[in-house]
Amino acid sequence: MDDYLIGVLSNIGVISFVALSAYLLLLTGEISFGQQAFFAIGAYAAGIATALWGWPLAAALVWGAAIGGGAALLVGIPTLRLHGLYFAVATLAFAEMVRILFELFHYQISIGGELVGPNGAEGFRNIRYIFDNNIDAFQFLLLIYSLLAVALLGFMLLERSRIGVTFRMIGEDETLAGLQGISVARHKILAAGIAGALAGVGGGLYAHLTTYVEPRIFDVMLGVHSLAYGLIGGLGTALGPLLGVLIDIGLLESIRILAGYRMIIFGGLVALLLIVRPRGLLDEQVVYWISRLWRRIFARVRRSRLNPRDRNV
């Protein structure tokens, strides 16, 4: 694969983590404009861990996820009472506070005669772990996608588990879920924590992919984009947000002819798409049809195996 393709694919993989993070909150019925905050926190935490403290990458990613998840839990508690627009704006306010705090954050250590570490609005340069350890771009791509596969597998299991069903139920009708004896508060905080950790892992990968982070990357644009990915791709399955990222970064990056008109076409297409499919391409209905079709085919195959005479039917 050429470098350009690897770069685009790596980008898609990393951004998918933030998209999944916003998607998880959408399942519980909350719109967050602020998942980029945990992405930023994860990026800085993991970057500091490898570049300043000399940790191995795996430990740094776990650390980024833990800090991102912990921060999300802390924000989840005061915002628990808020819904809809109120929640969306509260998360936006929090994320902007985090971004500004990173612009004021200085923590530099001299390593080999060179100052390394976050330097306020100047950003955080030289997160050189993958160069120092001779990991090439393709290997890092594999790492991103294996972690993404683990996350997706987690989502698949989650959506079949009691907790996952409860999340969707809270998203459908919070009051009703509460009346059924479900602890809405506990589940929402749990969802916020998992979403924060997911964004944290993504941030850790991002910091090591680009080797350089600066606060202005993590602005509202990133947050609203990651929210939009789930809505474009579909809210029926965790593959939805991935499809959204693929359409935005993959398709539009590759159509270079449209440079300059890209957002005019993309913006219009998304607006038209949302009129026809307000819950995205792969919404609950489509996912249900696909799974029913799949089950039918599967059932037919199994029946024909059990009873060979049916084969000709």
Binding site: L26, I100, V220, G268, A271
Partner: protein
């Protein structure tokens, strides 16, 4: 002491433009219960139209003002037709994301029209600031304040003293019931949207004329400032929008003076966050609805 008073005055002056932005925002949100992220960018398109007239044809101040308002209204109607009118009831998130997509589109259009980063915009009022007991007040700021108070009063009167306002309030209460008693809901919503865009256009013109420049960042700035002021003041409340804008302006002026621009933005968001957590209804809004107004 004199600093304290001067900063407060400056804050009130800057805050009145936030209040104007919030006024249009709160009208849209109050009627539709949906968030229009394209609010700032549609004003920006109006601003770019005005700039083109000013730079290419040397249009006067009033012509530019008219162009900004007309541009904002036309773009606002485009946004309403594309992102809000065709959506099913209850598809609030879809409308919001769709208006975000249109934001991206409008920003690109603005950059295609005028590709440089900054362009000059005609000044509202030149001349020395007025002086009251060694306190300085800029004339253009005074004009903005008067416009904000005047427009807020006009909107309040329109909502509570006219038949059209009564219809709008009926739609806010219950759109289906409003339809059943013979109110043309689609038309009323479209008119409210256009009116809100016109107010936004006035706000945008005044801000740009005070700053004397326009950049493609203006759309995002207008949406964010309007949103913060609206949330602090209380959703759907006209006096709240103005009051929220003024409070935001005063807070920003003081924190800018004492701590610099980074802390200024931090304070604005911190106050917003604190308001949402402790008093989600804002200064003058009622308690927020228990049902989620923005459900998909």
């Amino acid at each position: 002491m004199i600093d304290l008073v001067q900063n407060t005055i400056d804050g009130v002056m800057i805050g009145s433009s936030y209040g104007l932005l919030a006024l249009g925002f709160t009208l849209i949100f109050g009627v539709m219960r949906k968030l229009n992220l394209s609010y700032g960018p549609s004003i920006m398109i109006g601003g770019y139209l005005g700039t083109v007239l000013y730079l290419q044809y040397g249009a006067g101040l009033l012509a530019v003002a008219g162009a900004v308002v007309v541009g904002a209204v036309i773009t606002g109607i485009y946004v309403e037709r594309l992102c809000f009118a065709p959506m099913k009831a209850g598809a609030g998130i879809a409308s919001m994301v769709s208006s975000f997509a249109i934001w991206m589109q409008l920003e690109q259009v603005a950059i295609l029209i005028l590709p440089r980063h900054t362009y000059a915009f005609p000044a509202l009022a030149t001349g020395l600031p007025l002086e009251f007991w060694s306190l300085l007040v800029r004339i253009d700021h005074l004009i903005v304040l008067c416009c904000a108070l005047g427009l807020a009063a006009a909107v309040q009167l329109m909502l509570y003293r006219t038949r059209f306002g009564l219809g709008l309030r009926a739609i806010v209460g219950n759109p289906v019931a409003a339809h059943l008693v013979g109110i043309n809901v689609q038309m009323a919503v479209l008119l409210a949207f256009a009116g809100a865009s016109a107010i936004g256009g006035v706000a945008g013109f005044l801000v740009l004329a005070v700053d004397q420049q326009i950049t493609p960042m203006f759309g995002m700035w207008a949406t964010l400032k309007g949103l913060i002021a609206m949330m602090i003041g209380g959703l759907g409340s006209v006096p709240g929008a103005v009051l929220g804008g003024l409070l935001l302006g005063v807070l920003e002026a003081h924190s800018q003076w004492y701590f610099g621009p980074h802390i200024r933005d931090l304070v604005a968001y911190l106050v917003l966050f604190a308001f949402l957590v402790l008093r989600p209804g804002g200064l003058l809004g009622g308690a927020p609805e228990t049902t989620t107004p923005l459900k998909a």
